[in-house]
Subunit: 328 residues, 2 copies
């Protein structure tokens, strides 16, 4: 019997979940919830209905795991604890500084209701965090490096769009290859923000806009661009649609460290992702952890967990004996 | 109070454990056991004694975790189940085909005695296995690739040493860069043994030996070399000592797969290791899992486990709240 999954929020992430469920035959989509008028939301899975968000609690007995697809700024801090009253829940909460607080809220709600909540699932936080933890446990006293990209940064693209005279924009974060190579060499470089990443912007300007002024406003924008070497390209709307419609991303987690009685041997552990679609990859991780939440709850566990607390075997559709035989 | 560790077998791996314990302040070496005459074995840690292997059971109350450092062919199949009667045990059993059988034996002994045994810990099996599992869970229906090297293969070096006229030898396994690139491109290539790795041999011949005959015997050796493009270099004993004394290794675990309603988006997950010392890195992984075995047993768990069954947080010396704050 398949694990019955609900999707709460049907944006890019929700659509990715729907498609990931299709790739995992032991999971089944049973409902999509939206804050929009459900009649206006068309989904791809035949025979599955869209409901108003407010109707979710009434379906608590029909859903094994609810996957929350809202934003970290205002949606998830409220929704994840609230829905943990009724469901096992998974979210991709990614405001790193607020994770401890979010954890406490979800933990309390999930323990009271006897459900499992897994927060901050995806690739960063998520798979990148896992790789930081494993590498730190293996090489204590080493150095951690995280690089992001090449990929589209939604927040930075939005910041450009708010500039007067800008019609649309797409911003790519790009790791600096020479910095990556220095890290991989085991040289333990100290790298500034500017040395690690560059930013490349593709901007569609309004007709008659002052391009020089737009470019200056971008490259000097505090927090977003002023600490980086930023390149700005003005392109047509057609070019933006044609060449920059995707949402690729990725990055590198590298730890270097040494072993030996006198630290005479160096080691480099590297994990990297190259993703055509950031939200679809994140969704794929969320569905794997939904499987884990379902199983852990069946075993009688409850409360909030993160990727650090889940034994890897819970993520796989195969059982332990199969995994030991084929994958160990 | 530090976790009290015993080392069972003091070869390259045992020495690596001793040094890894020094890098992990929450662990403490309490005894080294050897099948040699203990008086002939000198260790580096001051104040710690070397005992005969047969004396180990008598020290069961002084050791939290015994790390077994014997070979997979004949040592570990006997030693790990035997010592699991008295201790929490960790081994690096790496005969992939016999893991299910070894698991059963250790599981039975560890359950009867109320201990935890973690088998097949290291990097392959071990960290590579974990990365295969995570990547498979995230991208079902994708393709797995494992490349090894550049690194010294002990078994292949030994095979060369057994040839008549060979005094000493060192064999390196080297991944083919163009094959790695083809995999990373997402092209899902089907690769033959020959296309994935080359083998490079450095051979010290006896005086007057028939070099052409040695080279021919190497490159045509079934199982070991005949399926590979193999290069043989004859060098002096001094050159071997000077340039090939290390035991480097490493490799790459790559999974490619697609997401999207029509599989329209490709993804590449890559994990790689570049290790100056194969046994010291393996030892570092073993010590991290010793920490996990100790904690799991304290929680009341017993029986055999693998890296698949251990939640990552158990490997870290930091507690859950610290990990969520700094590493997630």
């Amino acid at each position: 019997m398949a694990i019955k999954i609900g999707i709460y929020g049907y944006g890019n992430l929700g659509k990715g979940i729907e498609s990931a469920i299709r790739h995992n035959p032991d999971t089944e989509l049973v409902a999509v919830f939206t804050r929009r008028d459900p009649k206006t939301v068309k989904i791809q899975t035949e025979g599955v209905s869209v409901y108003a968000a407010a109707d979710a609690p009434a379906m608590k007995d029909q859903i094994d795991v609810m996957i929350l697809c809202g934003g970290s700024a205002t949606d998830l801090p409220v929704q994840t604890p609230e829905l943990a009253k009724y469901f096992n829940v998974i979210d991709s909460f990614d405001t790193h500084a607020k994770i401890p607080e979010h954890f406490e809220h979800v933990d309390q709600a999930a323990k009271e209701s006897g459900h499992v909540g897994i927060i901050s699932v995806g690739w960063d936080p998520g798979m990148f965090s896992l790789n930081r933890l494993y590498a730190n446990a293996i090489l204590p006293g080493g150095h951690d490096y995280t690089f992001w990209g090449k990929g589209v940064s939604q927040g930075h693209s939005d910041a450009i769009r708010r500039i007067e005279g800008v019609k649309d924009a797409r911003q790519y974060t790009i790791p600096v290859e020479s910095a990556l190579e220095a890290v991989r060499s085991g040289a333990d470089p100290e790298l500034t923000t500017r040395e690690k990443h560059t930013r490349e912007c593709f901007v569609v300007a309004e007709e008659g806009a002052d391009l020089a002024a737009i470019e200056k406003e971008i490259v000097t924008m505090p927090n977003y661009f002023s600490d980086y070497d930023t390149t700005v390209h003005f392109i047509s709307e057609e070019e933006l649609q044609r060449d920059h419609a995707g949402i690729p991303h990725g990055g590198f987690v590298i730890r270097t460290g040494s072993t030996g009685w006198n630290d005479e041997n160096k080691h480099v552990i590297e994990y990297s992702l190259k993703l055509d679609s950031n939200p679809e990859f994140t969704s794929s991780v969320l569905v794997a952890y939904a499987r884990a939440a379902y199983r852990l709850n069946k075993e009688g566990q409850d409360g909030c967990k993160t990727v650090f607390d889940i034994a890897p075997a819970y993520l796989s559709a195969e059982d332990g004996a199969e995994l030991r035989k084929h994958m160990l």
